[in-house]
């Protein structure tokens, strides 16, 4: 899909907000979100995207998404550095920083870095985008449980405690969420 970038005027970037929120949710350690919310980082990303849109050279939706993800990654890394620099004595903070840096580095390799041919990179990016779009179609509770379980590798007990649900409720949300994801992804492939 092509995006309208006439006169370097930013298109409606707000349509990408949910998408960026999801990516931030995937990358941020859930414990860290108590202090540094994904919405704050996404808001900062949107502001920078509007401010710097004149520098965007892409023409397609995929290129715009990649550009927004690059800004988001930079902001996520800044959060990691902030926690590492300002609280060096706190072991837990360092641990969170390490996790976030690893996560951001993974995001960078998966989504941004030019380590593969352009066609391979585009294919990989399309798959990530498909999964992100499918995740966005889930109910909020389903998505949060799926992300914590399969992206952050939390146990059901940890998810239940963190979100104030029973383990049976978590199991149900995961079951229904995964079923929907399978359906959405099979429809798209």
């Amino acid at each position: 899909m092509r995006v309208s970038t006439g006169d370097n005027v930013a298109p409606d970037l707000d349509q990408y907000r949910s998408y960026l929120m999801l990516l931030a949710d995937l990358q941020l350690n859930p414990q860290l979100k108590v202090k540094e919310g994904a919405s704050d980082i996404v808001q900062q990303t949107m502001l920078e995207a509007h401010r710097d849109f004149a520098g965007f050279r892409g023409k397609t939706d995929a290129e715009l998404r990649a550009w927004l993800k690059m800004i988001l990654t930079h902001n996520l890394q800044s959060v990691a550095k902030h926690y590492g620099r300002d609280k060096p004595a706190a072991g837990r903070e360092v641990s969170l920083q390490d996790q976030l840096e690893q996560s951001s580095a993974l995001l960078h390799r998966q989504l941004v870095a030019d380590q593969t041919s352009p066609s391979m990179k585009l294919m990989k990016q399309e798959r990530v985008d498909q999964l992100a779009d499918a995740l966005l179609k889930l109910l909020v509770d389903e998505r949060s449980d799926v992300v914590l379980k399969y992206y952050h590798n939390w146990s059901n007990a940890e998810i239940a405690q963190h979100l104030g649900r029973t383990q049976e409720a978590v199991a149900g949300l995961l079951r229904r969420g995964l079923k929907k994801l399978r359906n959405y992804l099979s429809e798209e492939s």
């Binding site: 059901n156 029973t166 049976e168 199991a171 995961l174 079951r175």
Partner: protein, 48 residues
Amino acid sequence: MPSFVDENEEREQQLDAIVAEYYRLEEKGEAPDKSLFIARYPDFKKTD
């Protein structure tokens, strides 16, 4: 007399409890053989 919706909801809750039990065992490092575990619940065999 229970409605179809009530029965369906009850069945969903039972299934959630079964899945939760499987996750508990798995997270304790005691994941049972899937086919044996499913065989314990013949009423749910054809449900996802």
